[in-house]
């Protein structure tokens, strides 16, 4: 599903990732852990295609991301969902409009979009708030909407960068449960977190990073 071969990344001369090699299978739940600046976000960005590696290769569904043309990146992103710590919702749009956006980009019909949006909102327990503006929702609700938007396209990979970073322990439990449910349906989940509660609750494969180096990997790399 996802393979990294000796990936190295620098930001203005500073090492962000050093010689990282990983293999993630379909349906796995991978937790990238480590302190701030360990390289967790950089790794996710490389897989997502918002950064290019300085060295090494990245294969996502047998497609080499390092060699992807600029024009193909949006299509690569449509195959995956991305959940961020700061939600990235449009505050003046309704919950429904926010979640429907990826489907408008794909050019789906209104009826099909509606069906998929309701399905995604139901999965995160936000169906009743579809007409509410995203800006007036609580942090937990916003993160649920963000997850709904990430899964509305039925992605095969769901990336999450500190999705519980802004949430209290109770909400963290709820959101983590959502990720667990999504992973249980067969979606590969790759999450960057330094929250022990999340790591314990998800009980996935733990990849530890520090200063751009891979410290340990519970999974196997062939």
């Amino acid at each position: 599903m996802i393979q990294l071969f000796h990936v190295t990344k620098y930001y203005e001369g500073c090492l962000a990732l050093s010689d990282i090699s990983l293999r993630i299978e379909k349906g796995e739940c991978v937790l990238l852990t480590g302190p701030s600046g360990a390289g967790k976000t950089s790794l996710l960005k490389l897989i997502f295609g918002s950064e290019h590696p300085d060295d090494g290769q990245i294969l996502v569904q047998n497609r080499n991301i390092a060699r992807l043309r600029r024009a193909d990146i949006p299509y690569h992103r449509r195959t995956m969902g991305f959940v961020l710590q700061d939600f990235k919702l449009l505050p003046h749009r309704t919950v429904f409009e926010n979640v429907a956006l990826p489907l408008i980009i794909r050019g789906l019909s209104s009826s099909e979009s509606r069906r998929k949006v309701i399905e995604a909102l139901r999965a995160v327990g936000m169906e009743h708030k579809q007409a509410t503006h995203a800006g007036v929702l609580s942090a937990g609700e916003q993160q649920r909407v963000c997850i709904a938007r990430a899964i509305v396209n039925s992605p095969i990979i769901l990336l999450a960068d500190e999705p519980t970073g802004n949430l209290d322990p109770q909400l963290t439990t709820e959101i983590t449960a959502l990720f667990k449910a999504i992973n249980a349906r067969g979606t590969t989940v790759m999450m960057a977190t330094h929250n022990r509660q999340v790591v314990e609750q998800l009980n996935g494969r733990i990849v530890r990073l520090d200063c751009g180096h891979l410290l340990s990997d519970q999974g196997t790399y062939a």
Binding site: E51, R77, F82, K88, P102, I105, L108, S113, R149
Partner: protein, 299 residues
């Protein structure tokens, strides 16, 4: 279809949100196109005027007195076969005398006792409508002057050439002024759209995050630029029409070729639409200029 409504809605939300800069963009485009349109209107009318004058221009060819009837026939045929000539009328010496007597009956006595007519025979040529350039006419006149059977050719081309020169100057000035103003308009529209880009930076980032292509992200801004340009073009057309009507009203009593109003006319529909299209084009160029820099290095 859903995408189409999305693009339209996004464009109009942006226009409404940035009312002040939208208005500045519209006014700048209107100013640009009004200035350019004034030159265009002037050029259009002077060009029309020259066209009318040229179609009424007559070339008078005076054959030599001693020309043989057969040579005269050959000369007529040569002239009639030329594509620049619409019609040819032969006025014999006697016809010329009769014309003089008709036009100046009080002076007719001056010619009594002369025997033969003192007036030369002539060929009056009317030019075809499809020969607009003075170059074509000059070429024809030169050829006729070199004909050995022709005494002389009368053609008052000087002032037509001067008028053509004036048109050339108008063209050059219109191009320079239009170019400078168009650049100003493109810059202002580019800034207007860039402002929209800055204020909606987060929204653009979100669209990128969920797989929006550059084209998908750009279309609402292109619509925005086109609307600003189109409205500016429409406003310019209104201003020009108003100015033109005012000019006509103020000059209708002047007796130049039956009054200015009978000579000058406003843009026909295709040219009016062209002016609005020019506004739309300026708007789109402004948007593209702004977007190119913005999107060039973003993944």
């Amino acid at each position: 279809m859903k995408r189409f409504w999305y693009f339209l809605r996004e464009a109009f939300i942006s226009l409404r949100t940035h009312r002040a800069s939208t208005l500045i963009g519209i006014i700048t485009t209107a100013f640009t196109l009004t200035s350019f349109g004034t030159f265009l209107l002037l050029y259009y009318n002077v060009h029309n005027l020259i066209g009318r004058v040229q179609t009424n221009v007559q070339i008078i060819v005076y054959p030599k007195d001693a020309i043989e009837p057969q040579q005269l026939q050959d000369l007529k045929k040569t002239i009639q076969d030329h594509p620049a000539i619409d019609s040819l009328t032969f006025i014999s010496k006697n016809d010329a005398l009769q014309d003089f007597k008709k036009q100046f009956p009080d002076e007719a006595y001056l010619l009594e006792g002369l025997g033969t007519s003192p007036f030369p025979a002539s060929l009056v040529l009317k030019l075809a409508d499809s020969i607009p350039s003075t170059d074509a006419i000059s070429t024809l006149v030169n050829r006729l002057q070199q004909n050995p059977e022709v005494e002389r050719v009368r053609y008052n081309r000087d002032w037509i050439e001067r008028l053509t020169l004036v048109i050339t100057y108008i063209e050059i000035v219109a191009l320079i002024v239009g170019g400078v103003l168009a650049l100003a308009s493109i810059t202002i529209i580019a800034n207007t759209v860039q402002l929209a880009f800055y204020t909606r930076q987060e929204e653009i980032e979100i669209l990128r995050l969920i797989g929006g292509t550059n084209l998908f992200i750009s279309i609402p801004y292109l619509i925005e630029g086109a609307v600003i340009g189109g409205l500016g073009g429409g406003m310019a057309l209104g201003l020009l029409r108003g100015g033109f009507e005012f000019f006509k009203h103020k000059t209708h009593t002047l007796s130049v070729i039956g009054g200015f109003s009978s000579v000058f006319e406003f843009f026909p529909l295709p040219l009016s639409l062209l002016l609005i299209s020019a506004g739309i084009l300026l708007g789109c160029i402004g948007t593209l200029t702004s977007m190119y820099g913005w999107m060039r290095f973003r993944l």
